[in-house]
Amino acid sequence: MQKRTILSLVVFLLFMIGLLPVLAMLIKSLSVDGHFSVEAYAGVLTSQRQWALMGNSLSLSVWVMFLTTVIGVPLGLLFGKTDFPLRRFFIFLFVIPLLIPPYITAVSWFDLLGREGFAAQFLGSSFAALSSRFLFGLPGCVAILFSVFLPIPILLTMVFLRTINPRLEEAGRLVSGWRGVLWEITIPLILPGIILSAILTFLLSFGEFSVPNFLRYSVFPVESFTQFSAFYNFKAATAAAVPLVLMALVILLSEAVFMRGEITQLRSSTETKNIPLIPLGAARNGLFGLVALLGFFIVIVPILVLLIQSANGQVYSEALRRAGDSLLRSLLYAVIGATFLTVLGFFTGYLIQTKTFRFWRAIDFTTIFLFALPGTVIGIGLIGLWNTVQTNFIYGTLWIIILGYLARYTALTSRITVTQLAQIPPAMEEAARVAGAGWFRRIIFIVIPMARRGLLAGWIVGYIFSLRDTAITMLVYPAGHDTLPVRIFTLMANGSAELIAALCVILILATLLPAGILWMMANPLLRKINR
């Protein structure tokens, strides 16, 4: 009874926080003066500009999906399946761009390749004009989003590799070399993971707002944001958001229908220590050089540029003076967001893993759908629903931002919980039940202690994604509640390049340092307790 009540409440919260704002937004866009009308949509369908936006959005996301898959999957295989040196370091290195707001990478490349950037100083203005043309448009957006989303196929490839029973590959190794085993056995088995990563990178690129906005490349999320924030045209903003909603819905539904059977054929392997690794032999050094070069260009160079651009102590004190309050708010909201995300994600993950309700798949799908939706869509939905006199205690406070985080990022913490709970034998909870423990007692004394590593990882992921959020916060933040990513974004219009670079460096440190320190401190402690 306790269990069903609490988990029903979780479902209700997910509906209220995530789905209802999107539904309310769609319903509102279909009414004019209280009557049903498709006026806003007619405008979308008949406008040449909207079709051009669709073309741009599709070009951007298809290119990003293609490049991240073609390069990310081999990198995932290299890190997860071979004796490649310094694998952990490289995984960490490539993940960094995903952890920080994407536009920071764009700012950095602008400082390097823009008309007045470093390239202009060293290589002349004609090169800078060329590089600036490359940056401001499709190629620049693709290059930056490629570096931002590259970790997705790398990590998903590695995760799916770990789910393969090592015996399946060994059976192949008896009759074939590694090349044959990789092509015929390993890659087909992780194909669902590759497709999932391609879908995610496609949808996330399709919904990305900050980079195309900064690089002045017109896509649907930018249009939606502009219609809303510049013209306060709710209907036009919603109409521009609808293709994003439909795209996410259609692609995720197709994935759920066509890939479900495939995915369930994989089982989590308990023999992770015995995963057979491919010896790279003579190719090891060459591959190391190539990967190091890629990491240097897409991760180290952008950070170096920001550090060089802001290499002046005074700029940092100026940055803290002008945005110190936003930094503190960012940290506070990220901590609150991460904590709520961990709790909501845990219970959501629990009800998915234990299949408490018959509609557990729908709940799982909803969280993923909300994660795949552009932040601008969720932001507009939240405003449409909560911007009333009666609900100003939420809309006018930090809680509207927290609701935005919960709506979009619960999928991350619930997925981590599902993965963690899958490692705990059901008999653990059953034994406690037989011993007479109620559901709460079982959760607090058995399940949570056994899942604490996952909870910690979930909290850190929640913290990072709350801190880096730009699109939702930018739309919903009440006066006096702007966070650092939002402050940087607004300062970019009139702030100096040095100041912006310093703020970007501060944001990177605020993201990586607390998360890294917490992980390093807590992880050995948890390991000791688990022993």
Partner: protein, 232 residues
């Protein structure tokens, strides 16, 4: 002629000696069963023979050819002419029965016509010719067992390694498949190295039994001698 020879093999996992100075010989055509409790190193012997892991000390010979020595694998698994049936069978879920059996032949570059003939012959041999198009998930436990056996046998291995392949089956099916394995071994003449913790299974299959205990050979002799040894 020795089909498999291990000389003073030591294997250490996470600081723990799983095998210690283990030596054994298996002559061509024999049916050897390695018997022992869980964790005694039975599966490690098979994995060393297959070339999935390397020994920390000692050497391994297959067909009197040195295949691994002191931390180094000299001949990779695919060049050892071995077949193996795994404890969990390890049938590739994305391939059909036919695809599972064909994989090795394709990898070895066997021509299409010969491949078809060998697959058909092997499927008939194990009584699975009517199920060639099915996926492993669509088969019963016993049928999956036969497919795993067919996948190993189609390569005409000199040495067949079997790692507790019948442990998950009920007694009746276990006995039936044991007889089947004996029939196939007699017909095809391969050397069999079979690992189990079940005495009855060992006595039903072996021509010679090796009992392992704590990573060392505790007994090596005929089935009758093994029965006496175990009754002590």
């Amino acid at each position: 002629m020795n089909m498999l020879r291990m000389n003073s093999v030591t294997k250490i996992y996470s600081g723990k000696k799983v095998l210690e100075n283990l030596s054994l010989k298996i002559v061509k055509g024999e049916r050897i069963v390695i018997l022992g409790p869980s964790g005694c190193g039975k599966t490690t012997v098979l994995r060393l023979a297959a070339g999935f892991i390397e020994a920390n000390g000692g050497s391994v010979f297959i067909n009197e050819k040195l295949v691994s020595k002191n931390n180094r694998i000299l001949i990779p698994p695919e060049q050892r002419n071995l077949g193996m049936v795994f404890q969990d069978l390890a049938l590739w879920p994305h391939l059909s029965v036919y695809g599972n059996i064909a994989f090795g032949l394709k990898a070895k570059g066997v021509g299409k016509q010969e491949r078809e003939e060998r697959i058909q012959k092997t499927l008939i041999l194990v009584g699975m010719d009517a199920f060639a198009k099915r996926k492993p998930a669509e088969l019963s436990g016993g049928q999956q067992q036969r497919v795993a056996l067919a996948r190993a046998l189609v390569m005409e291995p000199g040495l067949l390694l079997m790692d507790e392949p019948l442990s998950s089956l009920d007694l009746e099916l276990n006995i039936r498949l044991r007889k089947e394995i004996l029939r196939l071994q007699e017909k095809l003449g391969f050397t069999l190295l079979y690992v189990t913790h079940a005495r009855e299974e060992a006595f039903g299959i072996a021509s010679r039994i090796i009992i392992l205990n704590k990573g060392q050979v505790a007994f090596d002799g005929t089935v009758e001698e093994a029965e006496k040894y175990l009754k002590r």
